[in-house]
């Protein structure tokens, strides 16, 4: 039985910090007779063959010369995933070539690594499926990725605390019910990156920032309803050509909101990437 590679959930920061690639040797086949897959091992020990990411597409460029090659930046609260779609990903290429930025998307794809001679390393996603999503799914993805990243940080802390390495560490983690795939990843990552407590703390801070970006659940509770009201109003007003900012303020005022509250709410929406300003004075909601 050939098992499908799981789509890892991780923030762009952890992904972009990854530079350790494991190629299976050509004659190496796994016990089922299938070919062993390629992996990128992250500093936290994720073994990434496939990943699932959600975020805002902020830039799309066609960088191909002979053939189209679309490069997109998919931004999460910690950084950007780079997605390349060329002639062998026709559906994703068509999707990117026709979409408007910014918009929320989800991407499923294979992790790719590019190592030019000079020692630098670039990771990217080769998309299998890419689709438009709503802000709700994006928020949930952040929560999923945060939970799973914290699980990895906890497992890694355990590994560091044990002071073990190699097969002894492997045994130790398996006995503590860490999933096999992650245990392999941690042993490899420790050996390659020498990931230390500082790095774990840094990623923990990243996770905290990402979770905070969701907005709810942390103080500041008055602001949320205002933004929601404005967003709702913008959706009502938008007939496809965008919303006149001045008009928005007049209508929102007529509904009993103070001007400074309206301006603050719009600024927040802009900052969060929920809406954007295609032209000065015109707003558009990210759908």
């Amino acid at each position: 039985m050939v098992e499908r590679e799981v789509a890892q959930r991780l923030f762009a920061k952890e992904f972009n910090d990854s530079k350790f690639n494991i190629h299976p040797k050509p004659d190496e086949v796994n016990h089922d007779g299938g070919h062993a897959p390629n992996f990128i091992v992250s500093p936290l020990g994720s073994k990434i063959n496939r990943l699932f990411a959600a975020g805002v597409v902020t830039e799309i460029d066609n960088i191909g010369t002979e053939h189209d090659l679309w490069r997109a930046r998919v931004v999460d609260p910690s950084g950007a995933f780079i997605v390349y779609a060329g002639q062998y990903q026709p559906e994703a290429a068509i999707f990117l070539s026709t979409m408007e930025v910014p918009a929320y998307v989800s991407v499923v794809g294979k992790a790719r690594i590019y190592e030019p001679e000079d020692g630098s390393v670039f990771v990217s996603i080769r998309p299998e499926d890419i689709n438009v999503i709503d802000a709700d799914i994006r928020d949930r993805w952040i929560v999923d990725a945060a939970e799973l990243t914290l699980d990895r940080i906890d497992a890694f802390s355990m590994a560091l605390a044990s002071g073990l390495s190699g097969s002894e560490l492997f045994e130790h983690l398996v006995q503590n019910n860490i999933p096999n795939g992650l245990v392999e990843g941690i042993v490899l990552a420790l050996d390659y990156y020498h990931t230390d407590a500082d790095y774990l703390q840094k990623l923990k801070d990243t996770v905290l920032d990402c979770v905070k970006s969701i907005g709810s659940g942390s103080g500041d509770e008055n602001a949320v309803p205002d933004e929601d009201l404005i967003l709702e109003l913008m959706n009502e007003m938008d007939t496809g050509k965008g919303i006149d900012y001045a008009e928005l303020i007049i209508i929102a005022k007529s509904r009993g909101m103070a001007e400074n509250v309206i301006v603050a709410a719009v600024r927040k929406l802009l900052a969060k990437g929920m809406c954007y300003e295609p032209k000065i004075g015109i707003l558009k909601v990210v759908s």
């Binding site: 499908r4 789509a7 499926d129 689709n131 949930r140 929560v143 799973l148 923990k204 979770v211």
Partner: protein, 445 residues
């Protein structure tokens, strides 16, 4: 030539002696010569022979850990029963021996492809055994290349001890149980007529549950006076495997007694046993050969080809193309809609099947609307493409039974829904986790 080969044969015999004592030098010579006749290089030929007789490592297995498709392991067990069978093997009549082998915590069937004069009650150690799937269970096989050795009788408990039916909670019933006893409540109960060797028989099918799990059951004896909600104590129900899930068979050997739940104290009630299960991480589902009544929750990361509007044979329900069934010839196909999706939660991935009704819920369009899409687009693929656009990336929760197939683990859904968004709760839990961790570190530092 023989002289030249002699040192190599000696080398091979030596290398193989350590694992199997019944290796015969002339046999090795014969095989080596045969390979050389095919002009296989000598080193390669030696490697082939060593591989044939020896697996790289020979793990010692307990019966309950044996899964189908293992090669070259060692297992010890007592023979519970054994029968001689004559089979036609590649045109040759061969006598094989099959029966049941048990150790302290499991039992399985076995097939011996050579005569080891096995007798009921023998304790044997088999080296270089292999396993395969037989009647949805794993079966130990051994033959020419295996080494069988009789052990002293006191290595394992007696037959009576080994075949005693254990009292188990349903969660612990496994494919190495031949029979079990337990106390359970009946959650589902229905009669069905089936044809057994030309005779019409009424059987009872349903679901039993306790506080740990639910399992399907089949009763070959009438269960008069029992119905949904009845609590029963049964002894010696035989255990069958179906799609990786144990199924309890109540038959003439089973004693079944109604339990008065109002007087006897039980760790479950009908209500508590019948509760909607908690969702399970997909990694956990993938570890099992099959699970009964589970909920999985994740992102739809791919809609597979074969989803959308399909045509089925009216007689056998097979999916057909161009109104031609491979069994029933040209037929008037029946339209149906389904979704095959990959559900992934970051811990694992399973394929999920949704029937027409559940597809309509997940997709948000009825089959009639979907057929209109096809007509408008004049393309059979239009619905598949539309489903991909609507569903890829979305969250979905499904409830049903899982089984492990050669294409991975599959869940056939009995219900499907868009799961609740309990984001605030989870964000708060995360904040706590992040905050608490920090405090701990501060304490440590």
């Amino acid at each position: 030539m023989n002289n030249k080969l002699a040192p190599h044969i000696e080398e091979l015999t030596k290398a193989l002696e350590s694992i199997s004592t019944n290796i015969d030098e002339s046999q090795i010579q014969e095989e080596l010569e045969k390979l050389l006749d095919f002009r296989v290089p000598l080193d390669e030929a030696k490697r082939t022979i060593i591989r044939k007789y020896k697996s790289a490592s020979m793990p010692v297995m307990k019966i309950r850990n044996i899964t189908a498709g293992l090669k070259g392991f060692e297992v010890t067990g007592r023979i519970i029963d054994v029968t001689e069978k004559s089979v036609n093997l590649r045109g040759k009549d061969t006598i094989i021996f099959s029966g049941t082998l048990a150790d302290e915590d499991g039992a399985c069937s076995f097939t011996a492809w050579s005569n080891y004069s096995l007798k009921i009650g023998d304790v044997i150690r088999i080296k270089n055994a292999y396993s395969r799937s037989w009647h949805n269970r794993s079966e130990v096989n051994f033959g020419e290349r295996s080494h069988v050795e009789k052990l002293p009788d006191d290595v394992l408990p007696s037959i009576d001890e080994l075949t005693k039916t254990p009292v188990k909670k349903l969660r612990d019933v496994a494919n190495t149980d031949l029979s079990v006893s337990s106390v359970t409540v009946i959650l589902e109960f229905s009669h069905r007529n089936i044809n057994v060797k030309g005779e019409e028989v009424t059987i009872v099918e349903g679901v039993l549950a306790d506080e740990t799990a639910k399992l399907p059951f089949t009763s070959w004896v009438p269960l008069d006076g029992l119905d949904i909600g009845s609590t029963i104590r049964f002894e010696k129900a035989s255990v069958r495997m179906f799609r990786g899930v144990p199924s309890l068979n109540l038959n003439d050997n089973t004693t079944i007694n109604a339990v008065d739940a109002s007087t006897e104290e039980l760790p479950f009630t009908f209500e508590s046993a019948n509760m909607v299960p908690e969702s399970v991480p997909i990694s956990e589902i993938m570890e099992k050969d099959g699970m009964f009544d589970v909920i999985a929750l994740g992102n739809i990361i791919s809609i597979r080809p074969g989803s959308g509007i399909i045509t089925r044979c009216p007689d056998c329900n097979r999916v057909i193309q161009k109104n031609t069934c491979r069994v029933h010839g040209t037929v008037e196909g029946v339209k149906d809609m389904r979704i095959k999706a990959i559900l992934d939660d970051g811990t694992g991935a399973i394929s999920v099947m949704l029937n027409r009704e559940l597809s309509e819920i997940a997709y948000g369009r009825s089959m009639v609307e979907a057929e209109n899409i096809i007509q408008k687009a004049m393309s059979q693929d239009a619905v598949f493409e539309d489903m991909r656009q609507v569903l890829t990336g979305k969250y979905l929760a499904v409830r049903g039974n899982t089984s492990s197939t050669e294409f991975g683990v599959m869940l056939v859904s009995k219900s499907a829904w868009m799961p609740d968004n309990n984001i605030n709760e989870r964000v708060n839990a995360l904040m706590k986790r992040l905050g608490n961790n920090k405090e701990e570190e501060a304490d440590n530092g």
